[in-house]
Amino acid sequence: MSAVRPLLVLFGSQSGNAEDIASKVGKEASKYGLEAKVKGMDEIQISDLAGQKRIMICCSTWGEGEQPDNAEDLWTSANAEGSPSMVGVNFSVLSLGDSSYDLFCESGKEWDSWFESKGGFRINQRVDCDVDYEAPAKQWMDETLAKMGAVDDSGVFQESLVGDVKNHATGNVASKAESEPKTSDAAVEISTDGDRSMVILFGSQSGNAEGLAAKFAKQSTDYGLDTEVADMDGFDLSSLSSKKRVLIICSTWGEGEQPDNAEELWKKAVSASPGLLTGVNFSVLALGDTSYELFCESGKEWDKKFEELGATRLVDRVDCDVDFDKISQVWAEDALASMAAVDGQGIFHEEMVQAIKESMTSDSTGVSGEDGFIVPDLKSESLDAEISIFRYDPSSSTTGKDTWICSLPGHMSILEILRILKNTQDGSLTYRDGAVDDPTTAITINGRHVLPGNLRLDKAAPIRDGGVSIRIEPLNGFEVIRDLVVDHWALETKREASKPWMVSATRKGLSTPQGAIGSMAPLVASRLHSITDIHSYPILHSSSDATTHSEEYFGPSIISHAWARRNDPRISPIKKKEIESLLDSPNGIKAETDLSSIRRQGKGTIIHDALLNCKTSTLARTGYNGRHGKHVWWYAVTVKSSGRVNDSVLYRQVLGPIGLIGNLFTGVTARMVLGFTRTGGKMINDILALIAPPAGIGKMPRQFNSSIKNHHEVIAIFNEMDGRF
């Protein structure tokens, strides 16, 4: 962005109120890196507006919905034939009026509609003020200035920068009133430049905490962090005061004691002055053993002490039981992404965390993240982009796609691209707009379900031959209203039908100085939380391919939530049974046809594992009855019987005679026998499968599958691990 970013503030005023507000806007603008010119509407020609990139309008209404005197001429010119286009203009209107009049705020509304009709981009919604206008006007001014500050030199609104611009402006007010007005460019960029150092401090007795510290230090390089692993033994606590990022990994020894190597440092911390660690961002991983009464006590003490000393907790402490591998990795991914979002001045950019995680996911080859990771830059080179967007017009019930070939900055978010296309190419393009992390804005890009404000163009698809090709479609599993907008109502109706509320059992609470409170083991709490910590339920719902084709299926977002609720130790037995009957129903977990589709998307591994456990639980409860149960049961039995799956036995046992006859009349059998479009069907084998007698009770026919080599080993594994088969 260039150093000078002009803003035009226009006022149409009768009594002077609109002029006062415009004047305030002009003064405040410099904090947002903007150079404002404040003009009355009678001081400007309509043609002068066309070249502007940022315009804020403050306009009062006079009499019965009339323009104020100083705005009349401009309004007449605006509505004359041949008035200029406002494409490329980012605008917002503050409208002043009096609700006791019939046509309240009419003039402001007219200007708002006019700018839109001329192709301008409404960067912030119009605000209509009554006679008590100060508070809403101030709010409109702050919000609009932050957004105007995020409009780049080419006139493109970069929504991802709004938070940074706002933070920068707030910082100026608080502590740097005399500082340079145009430094927002540097403030909004987190890069590998500047201080990227981090300390991982470990207190370890058996070596587990030390091992994790080393492991996460290695992973931290992927996040662009320069990490030092430090033993608490002999560590100088005061040296932390100059650090911006600290992670603590600490085990607990004996009855809630600090490990040997942490004792001395802990004594120093206890006697340290409050405020010693002001400016330090931290998070704690506590290791322990739930079989001890004071579980993870040392980690809890460090967590509390750091807070008392003035440090800022970026990620909540996680307490691990002896099986700490997975849960510690989850903590590390949150903690490292958050630490990476702390800039060189120690300011935490919360809005960057998700983008960093997304970058990690899209670039890495696995959870271990062995690929090189670069903390996402906010700026990058332009890319040649081919953008195809699904279109649906409900009035004519026609579908199709529109394709644009253009050159766009790689750092631009998909949401920003949609806005540009709407403002400059096709005003009828329809999508859900919103904040970068608004879960309802979700769309599908090249088969991947994403929040478009969180995804950069250069991360949306692989760059091939110097360009990217992206297909933007609405989320599957929902009715499309228009273009990319889907109707979430069906999902909400299902959620309501699932009765997702908690009904707790009466049970003994934990006695605390504040009174008795309910509690649960930290590990259980973390597991349940990981299942329900879903940012976008529409995305999760859409991640199942089955939801598109099975209208009654509740879908993974509702099922996973119900599963977590069912396993909540606080739940009442009656509610638990109610949830189990939902999960076991034909529209419950059995209706999910392929969990691998869910595993592919976003947080899919955690949900995949939860749904798999849910399925196992349902199968056990329902005694492997019904087609679903029989399918799983006989698959396992045939594998035990020979080492290979036996298709013919599966078909006979699961479908039964009626199902087989059904297949005969629908051509399935013929295709199976003949290998219809395939090229090598073994007719005789497949015919045998049809005419062989059904398997006897407790017996497995072996006439089709020869046993694999060392088949006895397979039987031994089955017998050792699951005697049911």
Partner: protein, 286 residues
């Protein structure tokens, strides 16, 4: 020196899709891949055994991994479902030392085996593009596949860490390969959509709709043929396409062959079958 892999043919290569195993052997020979049979390898579980007992499937697949490890080889399979399921279990075992120790106890007790985590799982497609190279494939083409082809990946192997150097969400290895074989690749949306193979017999109405949408999408985009990287999906898309059409009213007639078949045809094997396929491509469809 030929590439040498521990070969897992996939779950249904011995039964529902024998053409895959039959075409794999001459194909491997042409490509210079030595297939070392994993004799005694079980079904990968197809995501079904783990529904009953997750650790049971892990133990069965850990036995396969231990066999490959004892041969000092990586595993290769032409089935995307098998590649996905094995990769998932391998990832699980490698990332959880406690779980690996527990499963190793079972392996030791039942088979006298141990798995140290020293093998990996590859799909044939990724071996061809990443290891052999498309230039070599091009030099081996005898019968160009001059069809408009829709490449079907399925969801199982399109996961982070499971698909070689290809992109998880926007793969193009198979499209590149089809072009190398002389074919024309069709752009279509459903190439990674599940056809519900793990629930084929239990949730048939949904599976038929899933299959019909995949088949119809390929046809709508002008494909004459679907080439599948998955043995299971390949069978479902072929065997159930008539029934899927009856249930949904969608046009679904289209030949479906496996990647191994089309490659072996292009490289000069099974000429009679290729001729039959050509006839089917001309006859089937509307």
């Amino acid at each position: 020196m030929p590439l040498n892999y521990a070969y897992h043919p996939g779950n249904t290569a011995h039964s529902g899709s024998p053409e895959v195993a039959e075409s794999m052997v001459p194909l491997a020979k042409s490509l210079g891949i030595k297939l070392t049979n994993l004799e005694g390898a079980t079904s990968c579980g197809a995501g079904i055994i783990r529904q009953a007992n997750r650790k049971l499937q892990l133990a069965l697949n850990a036995r396969i991994f231990a066999q490959a490890e004892s041969l000092g080889l990586e595993i290769m399979t032409p089935c995307a479902a098998t590649a996905g399921n094995l990769s998932e279990d391998l990832f699980e075992l490698k990332s959880d030392p406690n779980l690996l120790a527990e499963i190793n106890d079972v392996l030791n007790k039942t088979c006298g085996m141990q798995f140290q985590g020293e093998t990996s799982v590859n799909h044939l497609l990724h071996v061809i593009v990443d290891e052999i190279g498309l230039d070599k494939v091009k030099s081996l083409v005898v019968n160009p596949v001059d069809f408009r082809v829709a490449s079907y990946y399925g969801p199982n192997m399109q996961q982070i860490g499971f698909c070689g150097g290809d992109d998880v969400y926007d793969p193009n290895y198979m499209e590149q390969l089809i072009t190398t074989l002389g074919g024309e690749s069709v752009n279509w949306d459903s190439r990674m959509q599940s056809v519900g193979a793990p629930s084929l017999l239990s949730e048939e109405p949904t599976v038929l709709k899933l299959s019909a949408s995949v088949l119809n999408d390929a046809k709508s985009e002008g494909a004459q043929l679907i080439v599948s990287a998955c043995n299971l999906s390949h069978s479902v898309l072929d065997i159930y396409q008539g029934k899927a059409s009856q249930r949904t009213g969608l046009r679904t007639n289209i030949p479906v062959v496996h990647l191994c078949e089309i490659m072996s045809f292009a490289l000069g094997h099974h000429n009679t079958r290729f001729a039959q396929l050509r006839t089917r491509v001309m006859v089937i469809g509307d």
